[in-house]
């Protein structure tokens, strides 16, 4: 085992003077630095290698609020590869949710192109975009957005209804997904009879119903306690493992960001 480098007393005092002479403050600062250094090192080890699934080129998005034009994204260019688990982070108003919506085809960029699975979705017409969304993308929302008067099994079927999948196939998929997200014992329950974590697992299963290549999640743990939040992260990892799904998660949760393959940080509408 290598010996740590020796530090003279003078050097140590000079070092501690940056922390008001408080060694605890200094340890905390070092610890924080160490964590950052370690994360950086880990990400580098999980560098994307598969084909590109999402490609944004110089994407700009401007909203008009009253007479003012507010710029949400300022020339974002990035690539996300198949099978990647990416965390989009940043402060509120940094543009991360806008970015997610553009990737999901829920909104169109003011300029630039958004390609998903080699399709320039910013140029698709509404009807084709809906079909594309239904078949390629799955959405998970912070507030789950389940149908309150449909049982869990029917809730899971909803995306398949829009995709005109037969009932028999739907039932088979429901069973499989419910088992995968561990809600197979709750299929006959109404959403109000589930816990928050269960509801989110149902919402994730629903998003996977049409076997999308891309799963977009907007603050999926934002409405959950830490235990359930951790379970959801594990579920994402399991999904990626089992279905090979590319996952993009908008989050403030450092745990998710830490466990993602890559963290894309946004600040003032640009990737930093």
């Amino acid at each position: 085992m290598a010996q740590p480098p020796t530090v003279s007393e003078h050097d140590l005092e000079e070092f501690l003077s940056h922390f008001d002479g408080d060694p605890i403050k200094a340890v905390r600062a070092i610890s924080s630095y160490a964590k950052q250094t370690r994360r950086h090192t880990l990400k580098k080890t999980k560098a994307p290698t598969g084909p590109v699934l999402v490609k944004l080129t110089d994407v700009q998005k401007t909203y008009k609020v009253g007479r003012q034009h507010i710029s949400a994204l300022n020339g974002v260019s990035l690539e996300i590869h198949e099978g990647e688990f990416v965390a989009l982070t940043g402060a509120s108003g940094s543009g991360k949710s806008t970015l997610l919506q553009l990737i999901g085809g829920l909104d169109k960029p003011t300029s630039g192109t958004v390609e998903v699975d080699n399709v320039n979705i910013s140029k698709l017409r509404d009807s084709k975009l809906s079909t594309f969304r239904g078949q390629t993308i799955g959405f998970v929302f912070q507030f789950f957005y389940l149908q309150p008067f449909l049982r869990v099994s029917k809730n899971l079927e909803v995306p398949a209804m829009f995709a005109r999948i037969t009932r028999r196939d739907r039932h088979a998929k429901v069973q499989k997904l419910a088992k995968a997200v561990k809600v197979d014992d709750r299929l006959n329950h109404l959403p109000r009879e589930l816990s928050g974590g269960q509801m989110q697992r149902v919402a994730i299963a629903r998003a996977l119903m049409n076997q999308p290549k891309l799963l977009l999640a907007d603050e999926p743990t934002g409405n959950l306690d830490s235990v359930n939040g951790a379970a959801i992260i594990e579920l994402f990892e399991a999904i990626r493992k089992e279905f090979g799904t590319t996952i993009i998660v908008v989050t403030h949760d450092s745990q998710i960001a830490a466990r993602a393959d890559r963290e894309i940080k946004l600040k003032d509408g640009v990737v930093v």
């Binding site: 999901g104 829920l106 009807s127 799955g138 309150p148 008067f149 909803v158 005109r164």
Partner: protein, 626 residues
């Protein structure tokens, strides 16, 4: 696009959101539409029932009575001077004849007692004096040269091509009087008064009408065959009068529906035994009776009263015989003079011999009672007024039966006299019942020929006769019109309520629409879901409103239909006993229109909020919600 079944599944969840609001909306909209449904059911039920009751009666026929009256007025100052000259000539001749006759009979005659043939106004204007027999004769000679009322009316009617024309004539007593002979006999002291409402007695006259017109009011042959005395005048009589004639006491108003029905059936089954007698008295007979009454009265009231030399006494009240002379203290000369004066009167058309005759009518049919204020109370009364199949005048002698009487000549005195001046204007009139094949035809005839108001001075008049079949048609059409407007108004209100409800539900579903869009729903999928939601909501409102309407109609029917049934049996006397009046009937076209209206209201309510929803940015809706 999403499958219909799946769209229905998702739409069904919409009904469960905002449940209280949905229930309130369904109740209010259903109440509004239920009122229309109620009106439709009751209208059709009423029409069906009237049709059922009236099958075979005059209500099924399109009849109008038309009359023509000459409008030449005797006091018209434009009549030719020749007519004045002719009246003067007749007057002069009459005075000369009377003078000669008086001289021959040896009695006195004062020409000044004669009415002058004309009246003068100033120096220039002279008009015929309607009180002068000479003027009337001159006038009648003149009008005889003009086309008769019969000719004129036939000409007018022919233009409208009726299927049948039946002459109608009214009985005439020519100054004589008819008095009812009741169980108590003849009431000498009272002059019959025409009732202001209800049913007048036969003493006020009757009409001679073709049997084809009266047929639906006739008793069945099996009953008529029982009538032995065919020398009595056959007559269709009002139910109330037959009831009296059968010795039945009128039922109190509190009588039950069943009691009323039993009564009408009893009357119907025994009507052939009912007879009505009146006593006919000419003016001389009446004067002698009056003389008898006056003498008794004056003797009792005035001690100084000097009795006349010739006194009459009242006959037996049941005999309809003439007054009997109870005292005649006249001298031989007085008697001779009186005889000569009678002869003088007879020479110039005066009556001098008393005539009286008991006239008996036998009931050969039943007509509904006359309308009175009481008739108009309640729904049953209204029915009487609008749907009643009535014979005008209520007392009707079927012409063919009258003609078949062996002693008909005994009663020919009651037949209308030849046209003559009856008042200032109408010297001649003629009346018929004209039958048409369709309601439209009879309506055109009445509209074009009739006067339409009581102050009309037209020569012709035409009104619906025998029934109100055209009125029923009109009422139905009017009700349909009112119903259509009401339906539009109510529909608009209900549509606004439904629009508010659907708009609110769709508005509340913005986030859900956004989520659906995010998970792959196309705009048409969303449209189909809300389309199905609207269909389901409309279907619930349709079912509830029809159920409410039917329930209300059933309730009203059970409450008032029994009474109307009685009323209907009183109107349609010969309708089957088993028939009952009901106020529930299915009018498919109107109900389908109502259903269409509800669905339309739903879709009108859906369009705007849905199109607004679909035009929104789903992201914004999701963001707004969080």
């Amino acid at each position: 696009m999403i499958r219909l079944f799946d769209a229905t599944t998702l739409a069904f969840t919409k009904l469960r959101t905002r449940r209280i609001r949905t229930i309130v909306t369904v109740i209010i909209a259903s109440l509004l539409f239920g009122v229309i449904a109620l009106a439709i059911l009751m209208l059709q039920g009423g029409v069906n029932s009237v049709n059922k009751f009236s099958a075979g009666s005059l209500t099924d026929r399109y009849l109008a009575t038309a009359s023509y009256s000459s409008q030449i007025a005797i006091d018209d100052d434009t009549l030719t001077p020749k007519l004045l000259d002719r009246a003067t000539e007749i007057y002069t001749q009459l005075i000369a004849d009377k003078k000669a006759a008086a001289k021959k009979l040896g009695i006195e005659y004062d020409p000044a007692s004669e009415q002058k043939p004309f009246i003068e106004f100033g120096d220039d204007i002279k008009i015929l004096n309607h009180a002068s027999s000479a003027a009337v004769q001159a006038f009648n000679e003149y009008v005889a040269t003009q086309p008769s009322a019969k000719q004129e009316l036939e000409k007018i009617i022919a233009q409208h091509q009726p299927s049948h024309v039946y002459p109608v004539t009214t009985s005439s007593t020519r100054g004589a009087q008819l008095k009812p002979l009741t169980n108590l006999g003849e009431d000498f002291t009272k002059t019959p008064q025409y009732p202001s409402g209800g049913t007048p007695g036969v003493e006020f006259g009757w009409q001679y009408v073709d049997r084809a017109v009266a047929q639906s009011f006739m008793l069945p042959d099996s009953q008529l065959d029982k009538q032995k005395n065919v020398q009595d005048i056959p007559i269709v009589a009002p139910v109330a009068k037959v009831e009296e004639a059968l010795g039945l006491k009128r039922l109190p108003n509190t009588a039950t529906a069943q009691e009323k029905l039993d009564r009408i059936r009893y009357i119907r089954n025994h009507a052939e035994t009912a007879t009505f007698s009146v006593c006919y008295r000419n003016t001389v007979s009446q004067n002698q009776i009056q003389n008898a009454i006056d003498v008794v009265k004056e003797t009792a009231e005035n001690k100084d009263y000097k009795k006349p030399s010739l006194i009459y006494g009242l006959p037996d009240a049941n005999s309809c015989s003439g007054a009997v002379v109870t005292q005649d203290t006249r001298t031989a000369a007085e008697k001779t003079l009186a005889g000569k004066q009678d002869e003088f009167q007879r020479m110039f058309g005066g009556e001098t011999i008393p005539m009286q005759q008991k006239v008996t009518f036998r009931a050969v049919g039943l007509s509904p009672n006359g309308l009175s204020a009481e008739s108009f109370s309640g729904v049953g009364g209204l029915l009487t007024a609008i749907a009643g199949s009535t014979l005008e005048g209520q007392w009707v002698v079927p012409q063919q039966m009258y003609d078949a009487m062996p002693n008909k000549q005994d009663f020919d005195k009651f037949l209308p006299s030849a046209p003559k001046l009856s008042d200032y204007f109408n010297y001649d009139s003629y009346r018929v019942v004209a039958e048409f094949n369709t309601a439209a035809q009879v309506k055109t005839f009445v509209t074009k020929t009739g006067c339409g108001n009581p102050y009309c001075d037209g020569t012709t008049s035409a009104i619906f006769f025998g029934s109100n079949s055209v009125l029923i048609d009109d009422i139905r059409n009017q009700v349909i019109k009112v119903l259509a407007y009401s339906a539009m108004g109510v529909g608009l209100i209900a549509a606004i309520i439904m629009m508010g409800m659907i708009g609110r539900v769709i508005g509340d579903s913005r986030r859900e629409t956004a989520v659906f869009r995010a998970i792959g729903a196309k705009r048409n999928d969303i449209r189909l879901i809300y389309f199905m939601y609207t269909i389901m909501l409309s279907a619930i409102i349709i079912i509830v409103s029809l159920a409410m309407g039917a329930l209300a109609a059933w309730w009203i029917d059970t409450k008032i239909a029994p009474d109307i049934s009685v009323q209907a049996h009183l109107i349609y006397i010969f309708a089957d006993d088993d028939i009952a009046f009901h106020l529930i009937g299915i009018w498919w076209q109107a109900l389908i229109a109502l259903i269409g209206l509800i669905v339309l209201a739903g879709f009108v309510g859906m369009l705007l909020p849905l199109s607004r929803n679909l035009a929104r940015n789903p992201i914004k809706d999701m963001r707004d919600d969080t």
